[in-house]
Symmetry: D2
Subunit: 157 residues, 4 copies
């Protein structure tokens, strides 16, 4: 992207690296909240990342049986990134699309696209890398099998 | 970085691309809040970005005279990224270091390092790209002079 | 309530002033987010209030035609209160119930109950008082008619 | 207070039940964050409560030796309330004043006043009731001695 040269009317967008909904394998509807809007009247950039970790952890729980309270092995974020294309605004509902771009021994790279309901183009897209660690020591360990299996189902080549 | 191969005891860290405090030009002390801690007992990854936009916008206000309420030209985030190295935890105070890595016509790339008070190594580091737009139309415009001047002072070659 | 003498097994609850779902007139489903959970593994008390202002402002927008971007008259919070009865936890969905307890000339008292999906008893209940003011001067003014009409529909005697 | 009859120019305030800084026993400076501002350009009402639980838990840690990670007995919120008098806005620093209004066997009522730096009058004031419970069972237990001692020092008659 060329952040210095966005263009368009009323929205910031670029035509390169646009990802459509078809590129994602799992979706979660995340309603915006009043407090998500910042002083400029749009969802604050920080909040987009809370949509990221909501769709990711929600999926690990619903499809991988992840027990956030008792698990001995947990995922910790080591890198996240987001490119912002269009504004989101309360009370919109955001469709968060998820896929897995890379699946290693103890780490996984999720790729997330955020779409305003009804919009085929993403408002934002980015990635989130989890490293799985033993909770007590914070040392990396292999991704537990049930989680790996659910990640595998979202893996794109 | 090699997210799949972090190592260390009690903290996640890598030795590559470690940035020390000397690499930043402006600092703001940001105390953590109780609510910043998540279920794992550490500051949630999302919150790190709120430290980013607090040090950045705080600097534009204090050193660039930016008027967040009345300005006709505002900065909107188009890309942000963060690499996480060590945990932060309430009630720690975070020293947020800021520099400018690239200064274009209508965009600026800030680089931010987050350090636990007293720690020479960063807990996290990343970047944040602002594009300045006319508030009414959201169309990119040149960065206003007073803001450009304060950014120039943080520019690293 | 007698805060010093709660009782129960696994949850904090009291039998007094329990409000059932039937006592509310409008509902909004609000999914919890990963970040809502705090260090104790439950939704942080602060976040409950974000559910309050989401159901309230969402209703003013959907049923009262409230324009949060352009309105000359806006509602500002002057008092809020919440009693917490049961824990909520991500990834639960919260049903936020809303009614109007008192409707004055420029102020309105909303009453909100938060229910975990499927639970007839509230996890929390409280109130939120809006005073409507002219945005430019922050001086109280009468509640605009379209908003008053939608509040009237939720008024309980 | 009479929420329907606030008055003043530029701020909402009432003259009744104004509490000055002298009424509080412990203070913590809490800088606002960019994201605290909402669409109306002021700190969102929800965020005030994050200042409440930051000054309270910060005090329990610093003056009561409270171990938020390992404690078997923790405080859970059962009731919170806030009256809003004046707007706060980023990048203001908030002085959070704390006292204890009531100290029971297993519960404590904290009273909090929030003051913009340099302002003798509170922007907001309210209370927060903690019940101490055994973490494993969530059943109320007596407040541990070191915590009780630090609360006692803030108790007003």
């Amino acid at each position: 992207m060329t952040p210095g040269k966005p263009q368009g009317k009323g929205v910031l967008h670029v035509t390169a690296d646009i990802e459509s909904r078809e590129n994602y394998r799992h979706f979660l509807a995340i309603p915006t909240r009043w407090m998500d809007n910042d002083i400029y009247g749009h969802v604050n950039n920080v909040i987009y990342y809370s949509y990221f970790d909501t769709v990711i952890n929600g999926y690990l729980i619903s499809d991988g049986g992840f027990d956030i309270h008792g698990a001995d092995v947990i995922g910790v974020a080591v890198e996240t990134m987001c490119k912002f294309r269009k504004s989101l605004v309360f009370p919109q509902i955001v469709d968060a699309g998820l896929r897995v771009g890379k699946l290693g021994n103890s780490s996984v790279r999720y790729e997330v696209g955020l779409f305003a309901a009804g919009d085929p183009e993403p408002a934002a897209a980015g990635h989130f890398v989890h490293v799985f660690v033993e909770r007590a020591t914070m040392r990396p360990v292999p991704i537990p099998d049930p989680l790996r299996a659910c990640m595998q189902r979202l893996l794109v080549s």
